[in-house]
């Protein structure tokens, strides 16, 4: 879904250059999450998913290059 948004907006060369699972073991490092919230996640999410709740990715992409005057005019 996210990659599709990059394409739809007009980015080119959209590529996932890094990808790794992000589970409860990663979340405990973040001070944003209180212990009570992490316990809540352990309760409501099946245990087989605790190691891979979501994925962390890095996406690279580029804006199209400027078109030349010839390209704009549809020249030969």
């Amino acid at each position: 879904m996210l990659l599709k948004k990059f394409h739809n907006v007009g980015f080119e060369g959209v590529e996932v250059v890094a990808r790794r699972p992000f589970g409860l073991g990663e979340l405990v490092r973040y001070p944003l999450f209180a212990p009570e919230f992490l316990d809540f996640l352990r309760r409501v999410i099946p245990s087989h998913r605790h190691g891979e709740l979501v994925y962390s990715i890095v996406v690279t992409a580029r804006k199209p290059r400027a078109r030349t005057e010839e390209e704009k005019g549809g020249g030969p």
Binding site: G10, E26, Y30, L32, I45, V54, I57, V59, R62
Partner: protein, 188 residues
């Protein structure tokens, strides 16, 4: 589907990031190389809250102008500023005043002259068209309820052939609805 309005989401996120306290380095040590962290103020390291390493994949060159969307306390902005050198510029943008204040302190502590910090929204970037060479972002795009709008703004401010390196979280299998409705999950 978003369970929060744009206004609600921003309020939750501002509060969460404005009130966060951190003295740990676990996040930074999991994401960055030791030699990178040794070049940074401790506060920038302990307040690293990203999910990846966009600078590593941005191929920054001396002299480039790079925009760090959702810069937080500035760890990626500072790394980018070091990479583009004195002829370049790193612009850190964040909507949370408390985080920007931390970033300003860290810029001052490291003595960089090529960093500019601005308050603003990724959906309404306070920058002219075609004004930056590279955009980086780390665990921020997922906080937006208008991701396509944010991406369109990125495209607008990039110069032709400009590039992005965006670290973020993606769901490959649906999470329980009660998790998705949680403000704590939104802020994370």
């Amino acid at each position: 589907m978003s369970y929060f309005s744009e206004t609600e989401a921003r309020s939750i996120i501002r509060d969460a990031y404005g009130q966060v306290h951190s003295d740990g380095v676990a996040v930074a040590e999991a994401l960055y190389a030791t030699e990178e962290l040794e070049r940074l103020p401790r506060g920038a390291v302990t307040f690293a809250l990203g999910v990846g390493h966009p600078v590593r994949h941005a191929a920054l060159e001396p002299g480039e102008t790079v925009l760090d969307l959702g810069c937080g306390a500035g760890i990626d902005t500072l790394l980018a500023a070091q990479a583009v050198g004195p002829r370049g510029k790193a612009i850190g943008l964040d909507m949370t005043p408390a985080m920007l204040e931390r970033a300003r302190e860290h810029v001052g502590q490291i003595g960089l002259d090529n960093v500019e910090l601005r308050e603003g929204l990724m959906e309404e970037l306070p920058l002219p068209d075609a004004s930056v060479d590279v955009i980086i972002s780390n665990g921020v795009l997922n906080l937006s309820t208008r991701k396509s709008r944010a991406l369109a703004e990125m495209l607008r401010v990039l110069r032709p052939s400009g590039r992005v390196s965006i670290a973020d979280l993606v769901i490959t299998e649906a999470l329980p609805e009660e998790v998705l409705k949680s403000p704590a999950a939104l802020a994370g």
